[in-house]
């Protein structure tokens, strides 16, 4: 494979900025072959924009502050947006699937660094179930960010365990337009109403395992965002 790509999201506000970090790698190949990195940003509120980064080298980590590459993301012009990252090389026989990418959402007191969703080749084996833990306690509340990187509208269902004769229930269903990014407040969506509180050393915790419907397009990125209860700033992000 001579390309590898990821799908993620960023946040742009007066207090929060977003960086993309990437590491083009071909495993045991240590020669700094020339590579390229194309980054695209999109949302329902703005036209998709792309930037091609020159000077990218194999085995050399690099990164970019998105607000610098995309002036449309300056505070006041963005908010939540989708990010598509694609690394490529012209070198024959160089496989890039061991490359890595992280997105960092930075504010003054915290950085949430997370691995975006790795887009899989159409011929790849089916991915394992995409799931994670939604948590609500004195420190965290959980939201769900859905990024539609495909060229058509998609309906995304977030599933959760149910009760009684209904082992699986639909926690939230959202229609996400092509190139759109939405955030679902899982507490407001009453995800935790059936979750029994459990006493932990730091207090009561309500949690719920959530997972995605099987027939989801591979160009849909879904992320659980753990936000600070007081400031609502993202603390950690988990790609489903």
């Amino acid at each position: 494979m001579q390309t590898v790509s990821w799908l993620g999201f960023g946040i742009c506000s007066s207090l929060t900025r977003t960086m993309v970090h990437f590491f083009p790698s071909a495993g045991g190949v240590s020669a700094p072959y020339q590579s390229s990195c194309q980054i695209s940003v999109f949302s329902s509120a703005m036209e998709p924009k792309s930037a091609l980064l020159d000077g990218v080298r194999l085995s050399q980590p690099d990164g970019i502050r998105l607000e610098e590459a995309f002036p449309a993301l300056q505070p006041g012009g963005g908010g939540l947006f989708g990010v598509h990252i694609k690394i490529a090389t012209n070198q024959p026989r160089v496989e890039l699937q061991k490359s890595l990418c992280f997105i960092e959402v930075v504010n003054q007191f915290n950085s949430a660094r997370f691995a975006p969703y790795l887009e899989r080749a159409a011929s790849a084996e089916p991915a394992s179930p995409r799931g994670g833990a939604a948590i609500k306690d004195a420190f965290h509340t959980t939201t769900c960010v859905i990024v539609n990187g495909s060229d058509k509208n998609e309906t995304v269902s977030l599933l959760a365990s149910g009760i009684g004769n209904e082992p699986v229930r639909t926690a939230a269903t959202r229609e996400v337009p092509s190139g759109g990014v939405i955030e679902v407040d899982l507490d407001a969506a009453q995800l935790f109403t059936q979750a029994q509180p459990v006493e932990q050393s730091w207090g009561l915790v309500r949690s719920q395992s959530v997972f995605l419907n099987d027939n989801l397009s591979d160009q849909i990125g879904v992320f659980l965002v753990y936000r600070d209860c007081e400031s609502k700033k993202p603390i950690s992000v988990c790609a489903l």
Partner: protein
Amino acid sequence: MGMAATPQISNFWISSFPYFSSTLVSTFAGLPAETEHKLNFFDADGELINEASSVFPAGQSNFGQCNFLELDPFLESCKLEGGLKHGRLQIISPQGSRHMLRLHGRHNACLSSSTLRVSGSQSSFFPMALSRDRSFLVAAVNESDVEGVLRVRLFAGTRAPETTCLIPPRGARIISIPAEFPSHIPDGPGAQQAYLRLGTTSDAILGAQLIERNDSATDRETYSSLS
């Protein structure tokens, strides 16, 4: 049904004293059958100090479960290394399981993924913004029965110094970036974007996680990790 034919193995760096408490958060998306999860706790020198097994019965109650397991009690007998009570947690579980670590400090909590793989055919990297207010630790674990050599190269500006660290078989080590690369920490305000590239020249299979401590808020420090 017991353990699946091809279990998945996850490795975490865990710590209990003096900075964090560690809690394992597990989910089992799409696993309606009985699931068994085997946990092996190793201290920093690679000695097996505890074992545990958790079994979740078959049936609806298991579908979509989310489980919290506080790990501090399992680290009671863990020795101090580098001023920290820390080590490696190996989890053997059925495919479809997902585990995260909740690191709980005095003032905040964050979620951490399993360690990033570092081997002869797989390098890894971490981004970091070097500054006076932020300090970074690389928590390295060794999944193998042979000693590992972790090469840590810092890319900061035009310079790329490197340090190496020996990781005992099955054990763990902490690499303090300010201590290893003191001349690269800015004296004044502001931050310098830098990267760490991790590799190994040994046959060992290693793992690494990044822990950031942020002291920029008055009277409280916060921790974050890679998730």
